[in-house]
């Protein structure tokens, strides 16, 4: 067993709180699971041993991390190094919205039920998070309530920190909300950050996970959704990649006629790695799901996408679509993409495609015919390929904030 894992288990055994019965289950699973290595399918391209090798040393100087999103009037829940920062967080919430700290979950029966309910046990670091996460929040939206103001869960990570946070959210019937999970901080730190969302019948969630940690950061987490009947999920993931970035997304269509959309952008440079595993479970008939995953990979960076669509027996009349397009900017950049389709119903439409995107010569000619040089046109088109998904974001403040950041990152990739 890895010494990091041994320490983790020892540490976990000391935690005693309202989640202890659930934590014990995960602890038992962890003890029976091998530390992932390259032979572990789910971790084939992502070297977890980096965690073993890293020494986490906290420094006292605070870094300045630019997290402000102009024109976004959000309910802020701020965590620094995995610890709630009450002073920086919003204090009042609109009617129908209840937000509590994870530690206070004992007063909310639904929270205990939700814990580990949506996130599958197969995620190794999800189990770790189960046992160690004592910080985070529980968010409850009442039935028939539309929360107009976006809820932003902002996590920044300083040099040397190790942290584990958990978000539990319940959206009542016919309610709607927008949640932004924003993770930033580039220096060497380790965090596991998992979120579980229960979206009741006819409820609607607009979701953003902005996984913007670069460079030395080690960031592992997931967003897991369960959709009731006619529920609607519009999820957007933006990933920058670092020495180790891993996100697992599970979207479980638990009710009939639910709809989910997952748009993913990653932009990787240097030796960065970003590993996304998505799984869409259609358990009931008449659902639709769409995934658009696009990445641009430069230099020696490595993008991994494992996209699973599982259509259960009797889940008829499903429309599931998965598009993965990748743009490689250097010969040393790597893309490892693997669709996994498991279809047990016969009356379904399931389309998937993974392509290495090429520059559209017609578009290139059109731009050049206006006097734009081939190299500039190339940048415009490559960026356009990513920006198309930014254009689709419903929240304009986020889209406007992201565009120049993505553009700058893309320009930096060009230079090399």
């Amino acid at each position: 067993m890895s010494s990091w894992l041994a320490d983790t288990i020892t540490q976990a055994q000391t935690i005693d709180d309202w989640l202890s019965p659930k934590r014990a289950q995960s602890l038992a699973l962890l003890e029976a699971t091998n530390w992932p290595n390259r032979k572990t399918e789910a971790w084939r391209y992502t070297p977890v041993n980096k965690i073993e090798r890293a020494t986490f040393k906290q420094t006292s100087t605070l870094q300045d991390i630019a997290t402000h999103i102009p024109n976004l009037d959000a309910i802020d829940l701020v965590f620094v190094d995995g610890i709630f920062d009450a002073a920086a967080s919003s204090k009042t919430f609109p009617a129908g919205l209840t937000i509590n700290q994870l530690a206070d979950g004992k007063d909310h029966d639904w929270a205990l039920e939700s814990f580990k309910n949506t996130k599958p046990d197969r995620h190794f670091f999800g189990l770790i998070n189960d046992t160690l996460a004592t910080q985070g929040c529980i968010i409850d939206v009442a039935n028939d309530t539309a929360i107009e103001q976006p809820i932003r869960i902002l996590q920044s990570f300083q040099q040397g920190s190790q942290s584990h946070t958990r978000i539990l959210m319940r959206l009542g019937k016919r309610s709607s909300a927008c949640v932004i999970e924003q993770l930033q901080g580039d220096s060497l730190s380790l965090n596991t950050s998992f979120a579980e969302y229960q979206i009741a019948d006819q409820a609607k969630l607009e979701h953003y996970r902005l996984a913007l940690q670069c460079s030395e950061a080690i960031s592992i987490g997931g967003s897991h959704f369960s959709l009731g009947e006619k529920a609607d999920l519009d999820s957007n993931l933006v990933g920058f990649g670092s020495q180790l970035s891993r996100v697992d997304i599970d979207i479980i269509h638990a009710g009939e006629s639910a709809h989910s959309q997952l748009n993913v952008i990653y932009l990787l440079d240097g030796k960065e790695l970003f590993d996304l595993h998505s799984a869409i479970e259609h358990t009931k008939p008449h659902g639709t799901s769409e995934q658009n995953v696009r990445c641009i990979v430069a230099d020696h960076a490595n993008a991994i996408f494992n996209g699973r669509i599982h259509i259960h027996r009797n889940a008829q009349k499903i429309l599931a679509e998965m598009n993965n397009r990748n743009l490689l900017m250097s010969d040393d950049a790597q893309i490892n993409t693997k669709p996994e389709l498991e279809i047990y119903a016969d009356d379904v439409r399931c389309a998937h495609g993974a392509t290495i995107a090429e520059i559209d010569e017609k578009a290139m000619y059109y731009l050049q015919s206006r006097g734009i040089s081939r190299s500039e046109a190339q940048v415009m088109l490559s960026f356009g390929f990513i920006n198309e998904l930014v254009d689709m974001m419903n929240n304009q403040a986020i889209a406007q904030w992201l565009r120049p950041i993505l553009r700058q990152r893309f320009a930096d990739m060009e230079i090399r």
Partner: protein, 256 residues
Amino acid sequence: MLEIKNLQASVADKQIINNLDLKINPGEVHAIMGPNGAGKSTLSYALTGRDGYEISQGSATLDGEDLLEMEVEERATAGLFLAFQYPVEIPGVSNMEFLKASVDAQRAARSLEKYSSSEFLKVAKAACKQVNLPLSFLKRGVNEGFSGGEKKRNEIMQMILLQPKLAILDESDSGLDIDALKVVADGINSQRDGKRSFLVITHYQRLLDYIKPDFVHVLADGKIVKSGGPELALELEAHGYSWLESYDRNAEDESE
């Protein structure tokens, strides 16, 4: 201005343009008419340098400069503009960004200073209004989801912004409603200053009612088979292209 001599062009190993000659002087408006598949668009692609359009023979110069030696973008900055018959949709690239990059390139080639963003915004808004497109079209992806007529107006807007020496308008009038036809024609006329030249490809006389051409040519089987004044367009409208076939036969008889 534009001088094409004995031009032969092929696409996919198929020769489409055969020994074509055409001379356009500064300030002139020439119209080209001709049946579907005659090679009108092929001529515009060959002149603008589209990949895959091979020139096996002949020459084409713009103000004495050899077009055929230039890259696509160099032809554009030399003053050649093509309003596409089928404008290309580029999702993810905003019309505004595209227009700014195009105008920047043109201004750089003319040793003019770049517009600042706010200056350009003014210029772009004015052009947008001139072709009667809502300003929201500046924000949308290039031609993305534009209707046929909106695409054509967007092409004319680009011409207005780029101020080319020679504009080739490939069926800029097809698919337009009556009002839009007037907008497009006005857009073209607004650019006529006695120096700029136009090559207007069209199937219909009605555009030529608005834009009085100096010359009308008939392109068939890759060459110009007849040239005349504006009355030729009226004649074609009256007789159709079957009249050309007899013209073709006569020509063949003569050459034998």
